[in-house]
């Protein structure tokens, strides 16, 4: 596993740049991913998506399905792609510190 240093914090990441564990998440991580995601400025909408993802993950131990994310935030999938250019999984979930879903997905 590779490590990255950012704003005084050290993170372990996998091949796709996901953080090794949700427990290692901190706001500095969001700041780190922001650049590679091509996001200029984090807005309230970004944070709303991140918080919805994290709340769901803490309750259910898994990322919400895309349909739940769009329903709870009230944002259409297209808009989530505008916010997070890599999409809800590889962009938003990565920023929120959630692991990648695997299997028949």
């Amino acid at each position: 596993m590779a490590t990255v240093d950012h704003m005084g914090k050290t993170f372990e990441i996998d091949e796709d740049g996901f953080i090794d564990s949700f427990d290692s998440w901190c706001p500095e991580w969001v700041d780190y991913v922001k650049a590679s995601e091509g996001i200029q400025e984090l807005t309230e909408e970004h944070w709303k998506v991140i918080h919805v993802l994290q709340d769901y993950y803490q309750k259910h131990g898994i990322a919400p399905m895309v349909r739940i994310l769009t329903k709870v935030t009230g944002y259409k999938l297209k808009y989530i792609y505008e916010l997070f250019p890599s999409g809800p999984g590889k962009g938003a979930c990565k920023m929120a510190g959630l692991p990648k879903p695997t299997g028949c997905v």
Binding site: E15, I62, R67, G103, V105
Partner: protein
Amino acid sequence: MAKVASPEELVKVDHTPPKKEWMDTPVELKEGRWCYGSKPKDHEVIGLPNPRAWSPGDEDWKLPENWQEIFLEGMRERLDKFRSFRLFMDICVRCGACADKCHFFIGSGDPKNMPVLRAELLRSVYRGEFTTAGKVLGKLAGGRKLTYDVFKELFYYFFQCTECRRCSLFCPYGIDTAEITIIGRELLNLLGCNIDWITGPVANCYRTGNHLGIQPHAYHSMLEFFCEEIEEITGILPEPSFNRKGAEILFITPSGDVFADPGTFTAMGYLMLFHYLEGMGLDLTWSTYASEGGNFGYFTSHEMAKRLNAKMYAEAKRLGVKWILGGECGHMWRVCNQYMNTFWEPPKNLETPVSPITGTRFENAKDHRMLHICEFTADLIKHGKLNLDPSRNDQYKVTFHDSCNPARGMGFFEEPRYILNNICNEFYDMPINTIREQTFCCGGGSGLNTDEIMDLRMRGGLPRANAVKYVHEKHGVNLLSCICAIDRATLPPMMEYWVPDVEVSGVHELLANALILEGETKRTMNLRAEEFPWVEEEEEEEVEEAAAEVILEAAEEEVEEAIEETAEGTTEEAAADSAEEAAEEPVKEAAEEKAEGDK
């Protein structure tokens, strides 16, 4: 992650083999064609050997010191244990009938992806290490030693085979090349060389019962979410039961269906069908424990497949059900249909499946006591038990992708087509050499549906996509239906890449679009909550009709008034005249003026 070239670039496949003999052409591990290495944390969960951080891209794969001994001993064991394996190592005459049948060879042009040569990679080790001729004559007898490079080559190519078995269909000897890959992967696993996309789901499944790692309360809430969605679309709220002891039927489907689009719409389809049948005698439960139909253990080893499969019969026994109904999944059926009842003796409470609605006894499933939902549904339609409105699928021109495992693993061709022909008005099959037993793989089966090999997946998907393109251009097909969760995950990006404008769906999503539930509200949208294209038109018509009615009513009222007002001193004709004129615009004034004038 390797970048994928454009379709225009990718399609320029060069099938010219290198000038040197294959044994003298060293393997070059290309990025975009190998998957990430398995993670130590997952090895530890399931007890796989040699947990360590590694990557196939590294020089050093951190193998144990006696790795050759472990590999060869494993091979010896399997040669003794599986007669099929020894036979397949001995009998190939290299006729080449299989060579151009593989989607990966067609799409990559890499000669070592010809099934004959992919198998030869291992067969040469068999000759070089296990046969007298090979030991003495070496390369002259087609034998070679197991070197580090040979080991890497085996890994590289056994994870470029989706175990789809299309090649086997054309082998005059009936060599099942998928079985060679299966054994090849078992041997690689002995040294801890698997891929992250397989060991991750396997570890999840071992811990939580499904590949995605969905815990019981989450599984429950996901299905509840679908029920609420169904209520929004139909006005009907299904109430499925979970882990219910004493139910007649246990339903098991791949977890991809409850998590990832477009599989989620198929899951909604199941829920709607079961709700429809409840009043007709269906007594079915879902399970949050046996919450996975698929079995990525099967892409690891027979032993791991068996371990993960255990929960199906265990849950059937615990709940005391009479039989198991299985959802739309591919490799799940290979395992359930061909291995399950030899892995385990079915629990005593399980019987030959009998449809509680039609009374049909499914003798074909009497051994493993598990029925495919398409057989179940086709039988319902055949007996006229489903009230269907196929016009609700009129936005789609549909074709069907036979998933490799149900097709070649259980000869499953007619049932899904029978259903589709009853629920869609426009269905077109792809060319005959690309469907049914000759079906082309989605390019991502057997655990290869991960994104870091998108280059390989798009190459492997080329023959399937090409056939879709044909019916898309000829008949305007815009929907590719299938009965496998891996398909539902791999086909959408593949369509987007090769044939944009074609969407992907499961069969039971379309069934539920057509299925008329008792007491439902007028459907204005499909299961994807997309308004039917004809709804706007209908609405416009309705608005016009409503407007016309308003005018007519106003006219009638005015006429009545006019009649009342003129009743005193005018004739009936005058009233009739006024009525006629009153029906025209401007209604009110005209009627009033007339009435006044007549006075």
